[in-house]
Amino acid sequence: MTTADDIFDRSANNIRRLGLKEIPFTESPIALNSETLRCVFTGREGELEKAFNQFQSRDRRRILVYGRIGIGKSAFLLEVLSVLRRKRPKMLTAYISLPSDLDLATTALIAVAREMPDDDWALRQLHQMGIPTTKPMKERTTEASATMGFGAKLSEKDLPMTKAQYATVSLETLLERASEKYPEGVVIAIDDLDKQNPSVVRQMMHDAQGILKGRAWFLLTGHPTGITGDLLTSERGLFDLQLELKELDRETTYRMLINYLNTARIDNECKDLQDPRSVLPFVPEAARRFCQVSLGKPRLFNRLGNTVLSRAAELQEQLITQTVLEECLKVAAPTLLQRAALNVQEERVRILLQQRGSLSDDTITMADLEPLGFRSFVDIVPILERLEEADLAHQLDRGDAKVFAPIPLPPADDEVLPE
């Protein structure tokens, strides 16, 4: 055994000391397998019902799922697809996160083609776009051979990589082919629509109206401050259902914590809300406090969960009491800040946010903006959203103003707040 092996074992033991075989939290639902997602996905009953109601129709529908950054849109999408896969085996479901430089038709084409590994035509589409497929694609050509008399020799050469030239037509063709095998239809889920430049997406949506109203079902996600704000108002009629996901309430968050812990706990499958063992290694008070600081935001919940369990393991704790939790949360703020890798301007906005306690279009002044090199609040909204994405800020639920506040985490021991 080497020293490194020893350290590895010690590390694993620290997690085991907490009664867990691994840390169950993950900030990306895509990393979870379908079974785990099924176990940890909590709440959103009303929204699921509305979405599934749409699927009881013969008509193809377009659903827009929107909500703030880290609210669980991707998990919701994946959960819907996972249910459909179980309940509608003759329906093809495809998921894709919108790539930065592709149009909607090409994106949809890739998503569907990837789910049709037995279809040569689909594979050829992927191959032509330079996307690896499980089956190696070879182009068959015939060559007249002088040395073989009247015979011809078959040769193979690699296909050149090119982008889909006629994405809309190709998608149509692919959907036609899919309909033979999947008579219940094709569902295309395109995630992260507004992680792209809003004006690009706006144009993209505008250009893709034909596709969206075409053969497939579409599930799209975005957050209300970006493109979807425009979409909701301007592209009225494009979506049959616009589902807003909001922060989970405390009780649901508590249930979610139970579900997550349950997937990793050793010899304890207790899920009874009333039973303190259901939240182990947390004691119930600490679990409630943890849910409170998570603000009902699934991604923050996962990020904090990860930090808290890692820190508790480092401290070789067996139980996360409120004191231990506070100790663990102290490392959360610096960890989030470090991970965010903010540039100078973003850091200056973060400091201003910390100083003011909140920033909003209603209360910000020119004196606040000018030192940052800006003259309007809309200029710093992208920066505040970046902080929100990094869980260094969150938006308050105010209809008459756009208000950002820092995530209320306990300060690290050595953190000195700026004046």
Binding site: S199, R202, Q203, H206, P224, T225, G229, D230, L232, T233, S234, D361, D362, I364, T365, M366, L369, F374, R375, S376, F377, V378, D379, V381, G399, D400, A401, K402
Partner: protein, 587 residues
């Protein structure tokens, strides 16, 4: 060239030969006295035509036995016809070029290096002034000829000729179209400074004055360095030149430098603007004492044009009268600057006249003047060499004219044309040019107006994009008013799209900026917009407060119509709020 073939003959050379021989006799008799040579041309003006141009090479060929003897006459002919102020300017220059080119067939570099270099120099000057052909290309050729001349005229062996070629090279670089304008002007300054190493005041008083005058021109247009300081340097240079160029001894040069001094004073940044313009007018009027239409029609027209510009900008005196005066000056200039004879000058004069008509339109609110201005500018742009300062000015002016025209017609196509013109101007202007900012800001300002218009017309996709582009650009500029207006227009566009959240955001930003600028009307508009949005969102109390404040400002600004218009919304919102309150009480 004339067509050869059946029924066609070579150009008649007899007349040309006769003319050339007469010219040679005149040269011999007059000892090349300039005035007498000009008188000769004046009396033979009818023979200065296309036939002469075509026949010239053939005549020279036919004079083969005396070829070497004819070379000096050709050179003098080329020089004299180039300087002849009357007749068809374009043709005179072509004749001059043709004579030089014939000359070069005799004066080869191998056999007559000095003469060859001299002709190169003269060709450089002729190509600089050439009207025929592509202007940019002519200037490139001019530079090429001067550089050729400098290969023989080294500083070591021919210091004076070297200085002359440097000076001429400076002139050509000063007008160059190809390459970065700022860089060309720097090269021009370097060339003049080189020339002045030989042309010292002590040894070459007249040449020194000329180089000072030329340096003044380039400093006046210089892009690099501080603009205000460059103009001061330019004024100093002209004043230096005028110490030598006195009216008594060098009346033409004196008039030329007075004219230039006038331009520098008109453009001057330092000092009192009104006073600078008066000084400019005085300098131009001095110049006109020598530059009469009869004797120096081209120079006279140039100063008329300058006077037009100065009167168009004049602060003292009655504005309307000044503008009328300016228009009259441009019309005078146009009598000489015809489209055929002086296309570039004609284009500039047309463009300047258009600018004054636009100013008059602002004063009188008459669309006719804008109409005429657009026609003039379009015609001017057909001729103006692409990339020249006049071309850029005219495009910018065309943009302004269309923007203003839109105010009358409300036709978005006019704004599209304005944008197009601004874009062309922006693409053509040197990135460092002092006027660039002005054009750069005109573009987003127009974009925001067109953007909001397109949104209102239902072309929201295109409109919103224009608005957002304009905000993006204006947020980096220093035109706070244009930025505030673009924010307001974007708020309005979002309100039109019922996107309340974004509308509120932009209205609040516009309000903040207008408050910073203490712009009462902007504040009122933004509060009115914000109030409307808050009411639409159901935040009646907050909305009412904004509407009330906006109404108050409108009343204070004595805009009763606006206040009354807002009052209707206010009363409606108030009733809804009271209803809401009573429901709450009831509940």
């Amino acid at each position: 060239m004339g067509k050869k073939g059946f029924g066609q003959s070579e150009p008649p050379t007899r007349q040309a030969k006769k003319f050339l021989l007469a010219f040679m006799r005149c040269m011999a008799e007059t000892q090349e006295d300039r005035d007498r040579v000009h008188n000769f041309f004046k009396s033979h003006q009818a023979q200065l035509n296309e036939s002469l141009l075509e026949a010239l090479p053939l005549v020279v060929q036919k004079l083969t036995p005396e070829r070497e003897e004819i070379a000096p006459f050709l050179l003098t002919f080329g020089n004299s016809i180039q300087q002849f102020p009357l007749g068809d300017r374009m043709l005179n220059l072509e004749l001059s070029i043709a004579a030089y080119q014939e000359c070069l067939k005799i004066y080869t570099r191998e056999n007559f290096p000095q003469d060859w270099a001299g002709v190169q120099n003269n060709l450089g000057i002729a190509y600089h002034a050439r009207i025929k052909g592509e202007r940019a290309e002519n200037l490139e050729r001019s530079i090429g000829f001067h550089q050729q001349a400098l290969q023989v005229y080294t500083r070591e062996h021919f210091p004076e000729k070297w200085a002359r070629a440097q000076n001429n090279l400076g002139n050509a670089y000063g007008d160059r179209i190809e390459g970065e304008r700022s860089e060309n002007l720097e090269r021009s300054i370097v060339a003049y400074q080189q020339a002045m190493q030989v042309y010292t005041r002590e040894h070459f008083l007249k040449k020194w004055a000329m180089a000072q005058n030329n340096l003044g021109n380039t400093y006046r247009e210089r892009i690099k360095g501080d603009r205000g300081e460059n103009l001061e340097q330019s004024i100093v240079a002209y004043q230096q030149a005028l110490q030598v160029y006195t009216r008594e001894h060098f009346p033409e040069k004196w008039a030329g430098s007075q004219n230039n001094l006038g331009i520098a004073y008109r453009e001057r940044i330092k000092g009192e603007r009104a006073e600078n313009l008066e000084r400019a007018i005085a300098a131009y009027q001095q110049a006109l004492q020598v530059r009469t239409r009869e004797h120096f029609p081209q120079d006279w027209a140039m100063t008329q044009n300058n006077l037009g510009t100065a009167y168009g900008e004049r602060i003292k005196g009655e504005r309307g009268e000044n503008l009328e005066q300016a228009i009259a000056f441009y019309q005078q200039a146009a009598k000489v600057f015809s489209r055929d004879a002086f296309p570039q000058q004609w284009a500039k004069n047309q463009s300047d006249l258009a600018e004054t008509l636009m100013k008059r339109a602002s004063l009188t609110n008459k669309i006719d003047d804008l109409d005429s201005a657009i026609t003039l500018l379009k015609a001017s742009l057909e001729v103006a060499a692409s990339g020249t300062p006049y071309f850029i000015d005219s495009q910018y002016r065309l943009g302004n004219a269309f923007s203003r025209y839109y105010e009358y017609t409300q036709n978005p196509a006019d704004l599209q044309q304005a944008l197009q013109a601004y874009k062309i101007a922006l693409e053509a202007i040197d990135p460092e040019h002092y006027d660039r900012k002005q054009i750069w800001q005109a573009l987003p300002t127009t974009q925001s107006i067109l953007g909001s218009r397109l949104v209102r017309d239902g072309r929201w996709q295109e409109g919103l994009q224009l608005l957002l582009n304009s905000i993006n650009q204006l947020s980096r500029g220093d035109d706070f008013y244009a930025h505030a207006n673009a924010l307001f227009q974007t708020g309005k566009a979002h309100e039109f799209l019922s996107d309340w959240d974004n509308a509120r955001l932009y209205y609040r930003d516009a309000l903040r900026l207008y408050e910073h600028l203490k712009d009462e009307l902007g504040i009122a508009q933004s509060r009115a917009g914000l109030g409307g949005v808050l009411v639409s969102q159901g935040y009646l109390e907050k909305g009412l407060a904004e509407l009330a404040k906006a109404q108050e400002i409108y009343q204070h600004l004595q805009k009763p119509n606006k206040a009354a218009e807002l009052d209707r919304l206010y009363q409606l919102a108030k009733r809804a709020w009271e209803q809401q309150l009573s429901n709450e009480v009831y509940v």
